[in-house]
């Protein structure tokens, strides 16, 4: 039951990289996961009709927008660590 945190960090960084790499217009729009703004439906149904798919799309878009620049930093640190320190 030897549990390693280093492997966990690697796994999470790789997964976030995979989310951030996906191309917006070549892949996501084709599948249908693009970030189209829904029609402005004012009323009490705005919180209820956000389906699971819309929420997932929102989540991935926000992760991509937020983590682009920190991912550059983290990847550089990991590359330096792996190359220089073995």
């Amino acid at each position: 039951m030897f549990f390693a945190f280093g492997n966990l960090i690697y796994i999470s960084v790789l997964l976030v990289n995979a989310i951030a790499i996906l191309s917006e217009d070549r892949f996501l729009a084709r599948v249908g996961w693009s970030n189209t703004v829904s029609e402005p439906a004012f009323g009490a149904g705005s919180a209820g009709d956000a389906s699971i798919k819309n929420k997932l799309i929102n989540l991935t878009t926000s992760v991509r927008t937020l983590m682009r620049i920190p991912l550059i930093v983290i990847n550089s640190i990991l590359i330096v660590y792996e190359v220089i320190l073995g």
């Binding site: 039951m1 030897f2 549990f3 919180a47 209820g48 699971i52 929420k55």
Partner: protein, 324 residues
């Protein structure tokens, strides 16, 4: 210095001379050290009675200590230490209260003996219990107040049992490893990290599910942590019974898996009934107009999510924890 009397002649007796009194030890022994400065704000409730008894204790034991408290430098050092301790306590409290909500934590540890016994019984045998909703105090304006502490309400989640169960699990699994001859002191840290990691992953998944299904979570995060800590009770029972009955490597064979499946089912039922009120707001007729119309598909989806959370996820985690 004496004022020289010009008008009146000096009396026959010699004027009182101002002898230089030797100063190297205490000239005026202080029988009682001055009272500490009155605390401005009563933030440290438990720190104050300790400090207010300090100087009186030092003063009343003056005769017993003899020359220890008589030294003014020692007393000054004592008071400086007292003030430093008071300032340090206030500083730590003010800074800690920003990160860890202490008053909320105190609510979770407000348990009694009968509550602990009944709750353990409930976790292991949950099918005979009838009312599962938590009791609330009625606020001053007739609206619902806050929940009752675990001392008064059997259905309220507490953090005492999960914390004790976690520590017992760590010690027990380390002891098992020691009985099998594979013990090293780092195993304690590994097990602790592993258990915390399991709890953390579970809370993350639960929060992710709540976000996806747009379940507005009224109850706090600590409630969910407490609920996810109750499975350690079943894990401990499984490890103990299977170790006793097997003799060797635990959680294998007939009895181990029987006990494991029973405690898993009991834990799942307990979670289902308890989290029903947290995750599925069915008919909450309150004055807040947030959760208006929960569509039928949403409701079935939420029920599915709760079911999914209670059974397969808990099965996975309990199996992970009993793998030793």
């Amino acid at each position: 210095m004496q004022r020289t009397n010009y008008g009146h002649p000096a009396p026959a007796t010699s004027p009182p001379l101002h002898h230089p009194v030797p100063q190297h030890v205490s000239t005026v022994p202080q029988l009682r050290s001055p009272p500490p400065p009155a605390p401005q704000h009563q933030t440290s409730g438990y720190g104050n009675p300790y400090q207010q008894q300090g100087p009186q204790g030092g003063g009343s034991a003056f005769g017993a200590y003899g020359g220890f408290m008589a030294d003014p430098t020692a007393q000054m050092g004592f008071q400086v230490g007292q003030t430093a301790l008071k300032h340090g306590t206030e500083y730590v409290e003010q800074n800690f209260n920003r990160y860890v909500n202490f008053s909320a934590l105190k609510h979770y540890f407000n348990v009694s003996n009968s509550y602990v016994v009944n709750k353990l019984f409930l976790v292991l045998f949950p099918w005979r219990h009838k009312p599962w909703s938590r009791k609330q105090t009625i606020g001053p304006s007739g609206q619902e107040g806050w929940f009752l502490p675990p001392r008064d309400d059997l259905n309220s989640p507490d953090m005492y049992i999960p914390l004790m169960a976690l520590v017992t699990y760590i010690l027990l699994s380390t002891m098992m490893a020691g009985l099998q001859g594979a013990f090293n002191p780092e195993l304690l840290g590994y097990t602790a990290t592993y258990a915390f990691f399991v709890v953390g992953i579970e809370i993350l998944l639960l929060k992710f599910g709540c976000y996806l299904l747009s379940i507005s979570n009224d109850s706090q995060l600590l409630d969910l942590v407490a609920y996810s800590g109750y499975k350690f009770v079943g894990v401990i029972a499984t490890i103990l019974v299977s170790e006793i009955s097997n003799g060797g490597k635990g959680t294998g064979g007939w009895i181990g898996w029987t006990i494991f499946s029973y405690t898993f089912l009991a834990n799942a039922l307990f979670l289902l009934r308890s989290l029903k009120y947290v995750l599925l707001p069915e008919n909450s007729n309150d004055e807040r107009g947030t959760m208006q119309t929960v569509a039928r598909s949403q409701k079935s989806r939420r029920t599915q999510f709760l079911f999914l959370y209670s059974y397969p996820l808990q099965l996975l985690f309990m199996w992970i924890l009993t793998r030793i």
